[in-house]
């Protein structure tokens, strides 16, 4: 009876992308409704499905969910990607929040003025390499495991993988100083994401995954 989750967003990555990754990691198929006209968006609002008037919107398990972080938290808990206890969870939350801050900076970069763009991107990459990536490299180094938390695949790994791919799109050598990250946080290591690198245009199941290979920026 459980219908598939349904995602409402613009045709692009933006804030919905992390949600797509989590669902993909859980092996959960989902539907997407792309908001391509103003009327569609206004209808959602009028129907009262957008709590604070914003997307992403995900309808699943009989609930109408907005607020990216709330959705992600729910998915992580539901599919057991949230650690085995509260202590693992809070560690994961720390890693994920840091990653998300970094990703937000990258996502917002295209909205800067052209003169600022190059400079902004450069400074973001700099921050990534001096503040964030070293922290994750250290974590992997300290415990020697293949996953960030609890020696088990979790939301923290998914989020970091997404962030790394995002960064590599802008700067292919971003992981050059981080050997552990390069080896461990490689999307090829995770069979559940194996479809990402293989563009299979005809397959309905994978069309949502092909969004990951859209060019930069949240809207086309």
């Amino acid at each position: 009876m459980a219908a598939r989750p349904k995602l409402y967003y613009f045709r692009g990555r933006g804030r919905m992308e992390s949600i797509r990754w989590l669902l993909a990691a859980a092996g959960e198929e989902f539907e997407e409704e792309f908001l391509e006209t103003r009327e569609q968006y206004e209808k959602l609002q009028k129907d009262g499905r957008l709590l604070f008037g914003q997307v992403p919107l995900v309808e699943m398990d009989g609930m109408v969910l907005t607020q990216t972080r709330a959705i992600l938290s729910y998915l992580a808990a539901k599919y057991n990607f949230y650690g085995k206890d509260l202590k693992e969870r809070v560690r994961m939350d720390m890693y994920i929040d840091g990653t998300q801050v970094l990703m937000m900076m990258i996502i917002m970069a295209p909205f800067k003025f052209p003169e600022e763009k190059q400079e902004t991107l450069a400074s973001i990459m700099q921050k990534a390499k001096t503040r964030y990536l070293p922290a994750f490299e250290k974590i992997l180094n300290d415990h020697g495991e293949d996953f960030l938390v609890g020696n088990k695949f979790s939301w923290a790994d998914i989020q970091l993988l997404e962030a790394i791919l995002m960064m590599e799109e802008r700067s292919a050598s971003v992981l050059s100083d981080f050997p552990l990250l390069k080896v461990v946080m490689n999307v090829k290591n995770f069979p559940v994401f194996s479809a990402f690198k293989a563009l299979l245009p005809g397959k309905a199941k994978l069309t949502h995954l092909s969004l990951l290979l859209l060019p930069l920026g949240p809207t086309r």
Partner: protein, 213 residues
């Protein structure tokens, strides 16, 4: 061995305020370590992403990232509703209100167009956020927003209301249910005790004005 949680932050509200409210509601006493200690911590390598505030030392861990801390406390002290769905709803509600809270929080740090910003924030508060809050407060339960006991939503909402009222005292005029809610939340046992004692919690962001409760 389990001492009180220790909060490291500036002597002001800022991002730590949500955390203080939550701990207050949970009835947890805290110790506050203000900024001087930060430099020692950076040197000692305990701060994960470099210089990172707020930071909360509790249960043998050093927690950074406001949101991570904010998710830990309700889970730990049972302020997160009774099941995953309630949790998701609380989370959704709180994150949405957080947007308003951030706008107000950064107001003193914005440029001289402050008057304009204030008007914009108040407009958003009364047209986008408070109507939702009013509707939510109307829905189910006599005392609490979700399930039958105190939750994170019940601490976030009064905090937002108070913050907005500081910007404009009459902002709750069109929202009778919110006024009722505010009166109710003042009488929550744990909240009442904490905020009465610690006047220091009501310093405005970075100045020394003490707000009235």
């Amino acid at each position: 061995m389990e001492g009180k949680p220790r909060l490291h932050y500036f002597n002001g509200r800022g991002r730590m305020e949500c955390i203080r409210w939550l701990l207050a509601a949970a009835g947890v006493e805290v110790r506050c370590g203000f900024i001087q200690i930060i430099f020692k911590l950076i040197q000692g390598g305990t701060l994960m992403y470099g210089q990172h505030l707020p930071m909360v030392e509790t249960h043998g861990m050093n927690l950074v990232e406001t949101r991570a801390i904010l998710r830990y406390i309700p889970a730990k002290y049972d302020l997160y509703g009774g099941n995953l769905k309630e949790q998701a709803w609380i989370h959704m509600y709180v994150e949405g209100l957080n947007d308003l809270s951030n706008m107000i929080m950064f107001l003193p740090l914005s440029l001289p167009e402050e008057e304009m910003n204030l008007a914009y924030i108040l407009e958003k508060a009364t047209t986008r956020f408070f109507p939702v809050c009013e509707k939510v407060s109307n829905q189910l339960l006599p005392y609490f927003l979700v399930c039958n006991w105190l939750s994170w939503a019940d601490t976030q909402q009064p905090k937002i209301i108070l913050m907005t009222e500081e910007c404009k005292p009459s902002v709750l005029l069109g929202f009778p249910l919110l006024q009722k809610f505010k009166a109710r939340s003042k009488s929550i046992e744990t909240v009442k005790n904490t905020f009465k004692l610690e006047r220091g919690m009501f310093l405005k962001n970075m100045t020394s004005t003490v707000a009235e409760y």
